[in-house]
């Protein structure tokens, strides 16, 4: 970790949730679960008073959050320079179909991490890229060549502490039925409940320039045989 710039002492937003505070989770496991289950993080910085948000692939590695992109990317460069960064990660687990629209919602797991990023130094970059690769497609690291020095030089890897984070989880059935509700006019009893949603891998599509008959690698077989991945 680099030394904190002076402005890093600025007040961070409270991670205490005021609304629906029963949904807030304070355990580290819940935070890790959300970060490990989502494929995409939405990364925000402030530019001239306006929030700018970019979707990025991320990985959790222990108690740090890793982000990576091109050294040419504007938002990452601002984050690397010490701008306040907020990372939001959300997994939607189900549609909550209540007996009223007002109570209808979604089951979700959501984490927001506040802080600043540090640039992972050159000697740590390979390890961080491996953590990202292992997270996005376990096993792929061993199937392909190592990154070249030129590729490493063109990749900006940032790390962020998980110290200031807020986690919210909604799970379970819809709120209990509205007892005062009138029966539906057509006499058909009303159904309510939840419809689970999962991110499902489909059939792999081989690139046009791969020699015919090349077998799917273990990494891809593992992913597709799981048939469902908690992104």
């Amino acid at each position: 970790m680099t030394d904190e710039p002076a402005s890093q002492t600025a007040q961070l937003p409270s991670t205490q949730i005021n609304r629906l505070s029963e949904r807030q989770r304070h355990d580290r496991e819940a935070l890790h679960d959300v970060l490990d289950s989502a494929l995409v993080a939405h990364v925000a910085v402030v530019r001239e008073g306006v929030p700018v948000v970019l979707p990025l692939l991320h990985a959790r590695d222990g108690d740090r959050l890793l982000l990576h992109g091109s050294t040419g990317g504007g938002l990452l460069r601002e984050a690397a320079a010490g701008a306040p960064v907020t990372v939001a990660v959300t997994v939607v687990d189900a549609l909550v179909v209540a007996d009223s629209l007002f109570e209808s919602s979604a089951n979700y797991r959501s984490a927001v991490v506040f802080g600043r990023c540090s640039v992972v130094p050159p000697e740590g970059r390979l390890g961080a890229l491996r953590a990202l690769s292992d997270r996005l497609l376990p096993g792929r690291w061993h199937e392909v060549r190592l990154p070249t020095p030129k590729e490493l030089a063109a990749t900006l890897v940032l790390e962020m502490s998980l110290e200031h984070a807020s986690v919210k989880v909604r799970s379970g059935p819809p709120s209990p039925a509205d007892a005062s509700a009138e029966p539906p006019p057509d006499g058909v009893p009303l159904w309510w409940g939840i419809v689970p949603l999962t991110q499902t891998p489909g059939e792999p599509v081989t690139a046009p320039d791969v020699p015919a008959g090349t077998p799917l690698p273990p990494s891809v077989l593992d992913l597709t045989q799981r048939r469902s991945r908690k992104f």
Copy 2:
């Protein structure tokens, strides 16, 4: 639309993408497609110089983006008061498994909308809530009772113009193979390609207090029979 506050004339970030500009799309159909395909929007405002991000269910209704939440929600109240708001919506369509980690990526459709929100006035609130309901679970609107005046009063519905938006799309196979790459040491030819990902509805779970034998409603049947929904 309410009158613009004076501060609304502040400079918005450029929606011109500098990096990978070949991925940028300028047609309105691409923007509508992303907004209609994603279930969750990440909504950002600036609070004391720090970005704050909240996941929200959204809907596109013509050329406006609708957001809703409780009148008690802090972020939405700031948005309703005219703070600069940025909404990011991302759909991941596939893992891109290239022949190198450097070229590995994801196929995605991503939109970022910059601007400010207006509060949908009371006379437009029912129509906006119907647009949200029709988007999240088509047909449900007709299966449940109308929102009560009390529920309408407790719901804050915001609308946002789609005028300042940026859309990026990555699709297709990985970049062509690295011709200079050495053959893998074990002699097994390397596979590369893409693994599609879809958000798939599972078996509906009936709430505990629903009378036994209550049939699934058409809205839920339609969703689950599609078996795959472009969230």
